[in-house]
């Protein structure tokens, strides 16, 4: 993926660049809002990572201007402001996701990848009522789940978790992303509530099958993929 980072903190930017490059992405950096806007408008990126506080032109303004010209590139806002309405303001300005500093790099990576792929997958997925991956398929209308022809009975919430994982096959879904997408809650549960839900889902989806599909990604989250196959 081609990713543009707009971040005035050069240290932070260099860490992000290094990490994203090591994960196999092409990364450009702009250190202020004007450069960022210029680069985002003149090149075709898969995802923009924009700090909210920027010298010259603040992040919200950059994204608003970009959206006004019809540019739909997904945007992930980085911000030290973590209040609910800060987040709402960010999303209203045209951002697609919002990450509060300090964050774990794995969280940033997972969100950037989810945003970049969403562009491709959205178009097809929205119309499809059946999602499949390997021998697993779920029917969004009848709520039926089957793997290798065998019917699997899931609770509504388990179904929702599986749906989120299936919409991002091969990608890492962090615990906070799952809490956001499945429960629409944006706080950090102190204990491992999500892990327990996943382990229940795993019991039903992976038990008795040779190839496990739901993988734990250490220090990051979960991913739906075939064994040891990198995304």
């Amino acid at each position: 993926m081609r990713i543009l980072i707009v971040e005035d903190d050069r240290d932070a930017a260099s860490y992000i660049v290094k990490g994203l490059k090591e994960s196999g992405h092409a990364v450009d950096v702009a250190y202020d809002g004007k450069d960022g806007l210029f680069m985002a408008a003149s090149d075709d990126y898969d995802t923009l990572v924009v700090d909210r506080m920027l010298p010259g032109m603040d992040g919200l303004k950059v994204v608003q201007t970009l959206r006004a010209t019809g540019n739909r590139t997904p945007v992930l806002f980085l911000s030290a402001l973590g209040e609910v309405d800060d987040r709402v303001r960010g999303l209203r300005a045209g951002g697609d996701d919002y990450l509060v500093k300090p964050y774990a790099f794995s969280e940033l990576l997972a969100r950037v990848e989810a945003l970049g792929r969403r562009r491709v997958s959205d178009a097809t997925d929205v119309r499809d009522t059946v999602l499949t991956y390997a021998d697993l398929s779920i029917d969004l209308l009848s709520r039926a789940v089957s793997r290798a022809g065998r019917e699997i009975d899931l609770q509504p919430r388990e179904f929702k978790i599986l749906e989120v994982l299936l919409r991002h096959p091969g990608q890492v879904m962090t615990r906070t992303m799952l809490l956001e997408k499945v429960w629409d809650y944006r706080f950090d549960p102190q204990t491992n509530v999500i892990d327990v839900h996943i382990s229940r889902l795993r019991q039903k989806v992976d038990r008795g099958f040779e190839q496990p599909l739901i993988h734990t990604i250490r220090g990051a989250g979960y991913s739906l993929r075939l064994a040891d196959k990198a995304p």
Binding site: G82, D85, W183, P189, Q190, R200
Partner: protein, 478 residues
């Protein structure tokens, strides 16, 4: 003190009041003075006119000799009556009267004029009035046949003397009034200043660092006592906030020092040369977890601070407490089941209220998390929602509970009642719930569940009105 007195608003106010008072008194007195003077003068003219009338009749009845006789008679008697007469023929020679010379000719003598009797012997005849020198006279003249002229006047020395007395009395009165006003202003402002000075002295001492000082009150219950009382209450509140803050800072320092120390030793170990790559990686992993814990603690502190500082209702939405409770139950149910704890929702009423869904969910989640942490196996946790008498959401467990005397303490930041502090959590969970409740004008109550703990977030009933009035205020401001 003197410059302060002049600068004091009380004094200036007093001065302004006495100024206005003096001006109005002056106006009144001036009016009185002028009216009095005019009345006196009119009286003189009336007397003169009456005399002229009499003399004119005398003249028409008995001619010039009769007039001369009459004037001589009257001049004789004029010593007491203070009248002035002079009859001259056409050459200006004196025929009769108690004046020797015709005074300087005035423009229009028949309309009346004023002149001064000079202190000269040739002006006064032997019968001249008692008066000696420089006496003011009001007079009127008229022409007789043969161009003889008669002057009738009246000495107004007495009137002028009374005018002077009146004027002096008025001036003295005004002077007394001004002096009284200034003295009163000085006394009143001195008194006010001394009371204010007491407040100022105390605040200066407090600014100098003596936070325990309080302003004494008179006990009279006047405005100054009220002011002192309010300032004292304010100081009380500030002091308790400061103490709280100091305590929190101490706690933060304590609680963060331990993990920072662990962090440091871990990095030190990782830097030792005889650790291999695998070991270093593991140490780094642990380090990150440690740092995450620290970040989470800071985040929680910041969140609490922001919640306590702000009263923003911009992101409030109508929500159903029952739905919120069911959501949390559903989120935590697998975790509870793993520990053989029953977690269920109880309540059937529609408890609708306005609030921040994310924050309230987090609060209830924190309470549930705590309950699961402190409940033994085969325990039971209930999240219940009620609307009577107020909308409430309660998390009940049958764990060990919190002794009554420790309940207030449990709400303080960084306080973990479990004796061993090594358990998970940073001691900020309940503080956050407390802050969320306060933001929603709700009360956080800790009760006995016999056995166990019941934590209730009790919303107030008039909150809808409060919210709508806030919205209205916001709309007005916009």
């Amino acid at each position: 003190m003197r410059t302060r007195l002049l600068k004091s608003s009380t004094f200036r106010l007093t001065l302004a009041f006495s100024g206005v008072f003096t001006i109005s008194a002056l106006t009144l007195m001036a009016f009185l003075y002028m009216a009095g003077t005019r009345a006196l003068e009119r009286q003189v003219w009336e007397t003169i006119d009456a005399e002229i009338k009499g003399l004119r009749e005398q003249y028409s009845q008995s001619g010039l000799p009769g007039l001369i006789r009459t004037i001589d008679e009257r001049s004789e008697a004029a010593r007491e009556r203070r009248s002035v007469y002079l009859l001259v023929d056409r050459t200006g020679r004196k025929l009769a009267g108690n004046l020797e010379l015709w005074p300087v000719r005035a423009e229009n003598e028949t309309d009346g004029f004023r002149f001064t009797l000079p202190d000269s012997p040739e002006m006064s005849s032997p019968q001249s009035p008692v008066f000696g020198a420089d006496r003011p006279v009001l007079a009127r003249a008229f022409l007789l046949q043969g161009n003889a002229r008669l002057l009738v006047g009246r000495d107004i020395q007495d009137q002028i003397a009374s005018q002077l007395v009146l004027r002096n009395a008025i001036l003295l009165g005004i002077l007394i009034m001004i002096v009284l006003g200034v003295v009163a202003g000085y006394v009143v402002s001195r008194w006010m200043l001394s009371r204010l000075e007491r407040v100022n002295r105390t605040t200066r001492q407090i600014m100098a660092g003596d936070l325990g000082r309080r302003i004494d009150t008179n006990g009279v219950g006047d405005e100054f006592d009220e002011l002192a009382g309010n300032v004292n209450d304010m100081l009380e509140r500030i002091e308790s906030l400061l103490t709280g803050m100091r305590q929190v800072t101490d706690n933060i320092a304590h609680d963060l020092r331990t993990p920072l120390h662990r962090l440091r030793s871990r990095i030190e170990v990782a830097l030792m040369q005889n650790t291999n790559v695998m070991e270093s990686r593991q140490l780094l992993d642990e380090t990150i977890r440690e740092v995450d814990g620290l970040i989470e603690t800071f985040n929680a502190l910041l969140r609490i601070a922001r919640l306590e500082a702000g009263d923003r209702h911009s992101d409030w939405e109508p929500l159903d407490l029952g739905e919120l409770a069911r959501d949390v139950v559903e989120l935590y149910e697998p975790l509870a089941e793993d520990r053989s704890i029953t977690l269920r929702y109880q309540g059937n009423a529609q408890a609708r209220t306005n609030g921040n869904r994310q924050l309230l969910a987090q609060a209830v989640a924190n309470l549930t998390d705590n309950a699961i942490k402190y409940t033994q196996e085969r325990g039971e946790i209930i999240i219940s929602v009620d609307i009577r008498p107020e909308p409430t959401i309660t998390v009940l467990d049958n764990g060990p509970g919190i002794p009554r005397e420790l309940r207030d303490k449990a709400l303080e930041r960084f306080v973990r009642l479990a004796p061993e502090r090594s358990g998970p959590g940073n001691g900020l969970g309940l503080s956050l719930v407390q802050a969320v409740a306060r933001l929603h004008d709700a009360r956080l109550e800790l009760h006995d569940n016999n056995p166990g703990l019941a934590v209730t977030i009790r919303f107030s009933n008039d909150r809808h009105q409060t919210t709508s009035s806030i919205n209205k205020a916001a709309a007005r401001a916009a």
